[in-house]
């Protein structure tokens, strides 16, 4: 372990800490409104607070070790993550149609694999600079790296997390120098793959969910129900919201899975347009700040790690908010720091720790 450098303190990234602290607090305050009822703190609230504490500890540990050591750790961590995914497939029980929980439902290995994927891809692109990637065939290896966890998660029937992992992996794509004609080929392939997925890979309920985005009135009591209720909650918030703990959609439980997937609807209902914009603005600022950290990092590995962390925060946030706003299908993607979920909370804070790590060491050699 390197000695604590005084410059580490001097360069401590207060902006990042402040952004994450505010978002975390807002997330917890919002979760309280979404889950309260009965006496004292709800079980979800208590577990989320514990996950927040654990995540903070993990983030501290992640921050303490110079990120340059993580390059060596990347492959073992990735191997462990893949092992956990395989283990899950072998021993985890099937709950609600998917098989994604280990250790009595406390750990979701798919969440761990997202961060492991960032590490291993950062290591790969550090060794094979994306600026040198000019042909599609140069993407075979990173493609395979991404395909491993995604394939295992698909096998767990957890489509939301699989998609998320795929997208996090693809965060690095804009960095490569492949001509647009090649991208057209990729796009064609992707469309073909999507068509095949639609025909063979999706369960009827999943197709319904996708169609419900196009036309929420299709079947308002089944798949369209969630989208409809979410729209009602958001719209009835108006400009300034119904007030904290005053949202009827939330408090009277019309909003489905309001503490997990639809946590942002609670924000929108109770805090209105103003509150929603503040939360989205904080998110955007956090993401931009992540890019600033990437840009100012002293080496490619740091920059690649920072971009990976931005991907880890960006994709779930975007997918979740798009789903909540009725712009994307209902897929079980939680909003980082807002949705109830221990594994996601810990991994998100760990990712933030990684970003802090890169940020603090930008002037340290």
């Amino acid at each position: 372990m390197p000695a604590i450098d005084r410059r580490l303190i001097q360069n401590f990234d207060w902006t990042l800490l402040g952004l994450v602290a505010i978002l975390s607090c807002l997330g917890l305050v919002n979760l309280f409104s979404a889950t309260h009822g009965g006496e004292g703190l709800s079980g979800e609230m208590r577990r989320q607070l514990m996950a927040f504490g654990l995540g903070t500890l993990v983030a501290l540990v992640v921050t303490a070790v110079d990120y340059r050591h993580y390059e060596r750790l990347a492959l073992p961590v990735f191997a462990v993550a893949l092992g956990l995914l395989v283990l899950t497939l072998l021993i985890a029980p099937v709950t609600r149609g998917s098989q994604s929980w280990l250790f009595g439902g406390r750990v979701q290995p798919a969440e761990v694999s997202k961060l492991a994927l960032v590490l291993v891809l950062a290591r790969y692109f550090q060794r094979n600079p994306p600026g040198d990637v000019t042909r599609l065939r140069d993407l075979v290896v990173p493609g395979a790296i991404i395909a491993l966890p995604v394939g295992l998660i698909v096998a767990q029937r957890d489509m939301g997390v699989a998609l998320l992992t795929l997208l996090i992996g693809s965060t690095y794509l804009p960095l490569v120098r492949i001509p647009w004609r090649a991208w057209a080929g990729v796009a064609a392939l992707a469309l073909a793959a999507l068509a095949a997925l639609w025909s063979f890979g999706l369960a009827p309920y999943q197709k319904e969910r996708i169609l419900a985005v196009v036309d929420p009135g299709r079947d308002p009591l089944a798949s369209g129900y969630q989208v409809n209720q979410s729209r009602i909650a958001i719209g009835s918030g108006g400009l300034f919201g119904t007030g904290y703990m005053q949202g009827t959609q939330t408090q009277l439980r019309f909003l489905p899975t309001q503490h997990t997937d639809f946590a942002f609807s609670v924000v929108a209902e109770e805090w209105g347009f103003a509150g929603s914009c503040v939360v989205l603005g904080l998110y955007a600022t956090l993401l931009f700040w992540g890019l600033v950290v990437a840009r100012s990092s002293k080496d490619d590995f740091g920059a690649l790690l920072a971009i990976g962390v931005v991907g880890c925060l960006f994709w779930p946030a975007v997918l979740n908010v798009a789903m909540v706003l009725g712009l994307a299908p209902v897929i079980g993607v939680p909003l980082p720091l807002f949705s109830y979920g221990g594994s996601a909370m810990v991994i998100t804070l760990a990712a933030v720790g990684l970003l802090m790590n890169v940020s603090m060491r930008r002037y340290v050699f």
């Binding site: 340059r68 600026g131 009602i232 719209g235 009835s236 019309f254 080496d299 490619d300 960006f314 706003l325």
Partner: protein, 659 residues
């Protein structure tokens, strides 16, 4: 190790750093889209979505308005609305359903199995909706239940307005009954602003005064959660009770009229028939009784199917208001109109006498007078007083059926009295043209003979007779029967006070009516009159008896009264007004299968008149002194010849009324 990194100082010149603005632009674009979408939902569509959110959580509970009271003319309550206590359970809140139902069954005297059936097995959202187990608890049941309610989780009580007819069966047909609005009614313009499930007046005054009695329903906006469970109340609009309707009815007279149908001898069945009393100056309906009757309270909470079937299928038709819908041959009460017609047409010279030998021959056939030995020479006065059939056979033939019909219609027979009640029957006044049309046969003279004494095709409702005799009494004005004195809204404002209305005048000069009145007084007050049993001490009464044949003589010939089947016995009529010198009130009574009018119906009239004049404990029947009245059957004992069709009261011919 660390040295192995390809560090790039001032990362801005690295290829990675070059691409970072692209990523930033992507992020900015997507968040801009989110901002636009939020603006769309929370600014442009917010009103619509807020309404939909309200539809989610606001349940409006309708608060029924208490129906207005119905009072008699002195302000005594006939129909009111009282709170009824119902027991409901919220299935989801029941901790021990079986134990709770057992306890309930003991507390409110209901069968536990019955309660279980009422509860059913609700699932899903229905588990949060109250299920009614019992309606209208008694005071004791309610007291017992409420003292145990704390231990019965999930059991709640509910208070609803319920119609209550204070006097039970009294004036049931007049007051009418209430019931849930029917689908066909909902489609009519009259009920345009009604909703399914609403309870409305379905007959009688309840129906006629529906809009006045209805009031305005209020509502309570409740907050419910996604499961439908009530979480609180937003606001409440109090219901406005309906207006109070004061009837022209006089409770004392109504009671007397109802009591008159009780059996005179204990153990005999109650008598059937109808009584109506009108004020001859205003047309006010002072009493209206139809028997057999029913208790309208049975309808108040939704009538049980069995009770309803029983009422509908009863062969004596308890739901029918005989006063307005019972068509009966008027019998000898008709003679007053024949006499008036004869006077008006100049056919009756008061001094002229007709000899009554007890029979009357027309062609091959012989018609009998009710008095076997005959009345001897009779003038008009005596013919009415003693109800001589032969005199009126003669007069009727001289008038002819069409002139008879003209006068009968002139007295309001054969057409509606325009009483504001539904289902009034018009009766039937036969004419030669009518018979031609109805049977495609020419009118027979023999039918005129029957018609002259109110038999044959003639059909009349008790109300028509009361209105017609009212016109004789008041000097010739046919009054439209009035039921409602006034309507007062909950603030005490009189919203309606219908004035008396007339239907026109009878086509008979006042002096001729006076002559008829004189004879009618003789019927009751004079010697040998058939109506002496309607006398009231201290009041001079004028009236006319009638007995209308129900079946042909072949069913009754040679039998004693007790041996004739009840359904074959004659109907008894009596119509009277009083005081004879300055008439105020007219009473028409019909006792179905009661036998002779003077004997069976006159005492009914007497009791109603006694109540009007406040004469206490009037002697049951007959004059205090003097000879007993002749107990005449009054039915013309026709020779039992061949082709004469027997006519039964309420025959289908009534459909052609209104001729």
């Amino acid at each position: 190790m660390i040295g192995e990194h390809r560090a790039r100082l001032g990362g801005s010149d690295s290829t990675i750093a070059d691409r970072i603005p692209v990523l930033a632009a992507l992020i900015a674009l997507i968040f801009a889209v989110f901002g636009v979408r939020l603006f769309q939902l929370q600014f442009i569509q917010t009103d619509d979505l807020r309404r939909r959110s309200e539809r989610n959580y606001v349940r409006t509970l309708r608060l029924e308005a208490p129906r207005g009271d119905i009072l008699d003319r002195e302000g005594r309550t006939l129909a009111t609305t009282r709170p009824a206590f119902a027991v409901q359970v919220i299935p989801n809140d029941l901790r021990h359903p079986d134990l709770t139902l057992d306890a309930l069954s003991a507390l409110i005297d209901r069968d536990a199995g019955e309660l279980q059936t009422a509860l059913g097995t609700p699932r899903g959202r229905a588990r949060f909706q109250p299920v009614q187990l019992a309606a209208d608890l008694s005071y004791d049941q309610r007291a017992r239940l409420e003292s145990h309610l704390y231990a019965l989780t999930g059991v709640v009580t509910d208070v609803r307005p319920r119609r209550h007819y204070v006097e039970g069966e009294l004036a049931a047909h007049l007051l009418g009954s209430i019931g849930e609005i029917q689908r066909a009614q909902l489609e009519t313009r009259r009920f345009a602003d009604y909703r399914s499930g609403e309870v409305i007046g379905q007959s009688g005054v309840e129906s006629v005064m529906q809009s006045e009695l209805r009031g305005r329903a209020g509502g309570r906006n409740l907050v419910v959660n996604v499961a439908g469970r009530v979480e609180g109340m937003l606001d409440e609009i109090e219901p406005v009770p309906g207006g109070t309707v004061t009837l022209t009815l006089d409770l004392d007279m109504q009671r007397a009229a109802e009591a008159a149908f009780l059996p005179e001898v204990l153990g005999e069945p109650s008598r059937m028939g109808a009584v109506v009393a009108l004020d001859v100056r205003s047309g006010d309906v002072l009493a209206m009784v139809s028997k057999p009757s029913y208790d309208p309270n049975a309808f108040a909470g939704g009538i049980a199917a069995g009770t309803w079937r029983g009422l509908v299928e009863d062969e004596w038709r308890p739901l029918q208001n005989r006063v307005i819908a019972g068509n009966y041959p008027p019998g000898s009460t008709y003679k007053a109109f024949v006499a008036a017609a004869g006077l008006e047409e100049g056919l009756v010279d008061p001094a002229r006498k007709v000899f009554c030998p007890g029979t009357f021959r027309l062609g091959r056939r012989t018609y009998r007078c009710w008095k076997k030995g005959g009345h001897g020479p009779v003038d008009m006065h005596r013919a009415l007083v003693e109800s001589c059939d032969v005199y009126f056979y003669q007069l009727g033939l001289e008038l002819g059926i069409d002139r008879l019909a003209f006068f009968a219609r002139g007295f309001g027979l054969g057409r509606s009295t325009k009483i504001p009640l539904p289902n009034e029957q018009a009766g039937l006044v036969p004419t030669s043209a009518w018979k031609e049309r109805r049977f495609n046969e020419p009118w027979m003279l023999g039918e005129t003979v029957s018609a002259s004494i109110g038999q044959g095709f003639n059909l009349t409702t008790p109300l028509q007779l009361a209105v017609a005799y009212g016109a004789i009494a008041n000097g010739g004005t046919l009054l439209r029967p009035r039921l409602v004195l006034r309507v007062v809204d909950p603030d005490g404002q009189v919203t309606d006070a219908p004035p008396p209305e007339t239907l026109g005048s009878v086509p008979v000069a006042p002096e001729h009516l006076a002559r008829v009145r004189n004879a009618l007084e003789g019927v009751v007050q004079g010697p040998g009159g058939t109506g002496s049993r309607s006398r009231v001490p201290g009041v001079r009464v004028a009236g006319k008896s009638g007995t209308s044949q129900v079946v042909g003589l072949e069913h009754t010939e040679g039998l004693d009264d007790d041996e004739v089947q009840i359904r074959h016995r004659d109907h008894a009529w009596f119509v009277a007004y009083a005081p004879a010198e300055a008439p105020e009130v007219v009473v028409a009574a019909l006792v179905e299968h009661g036998g002779s009018g003077g004997a069976a119906a006159a005492p009914v009239v007497q009791r109603v008149l006694a109540a009007y004049f406040g004469v206490p404990d009037a002697p049951p029947a007959g004059p205090p002194a003097g000879p007993p009245p002749p107990a005449e059957p009054e039915v013309p004992e026709e020779s039992t010849s061949d082709d004469e069709a027997t006519r039964v009261a309420e025959a289908p011919g009534a459909d052609d009324a209104g001729d």
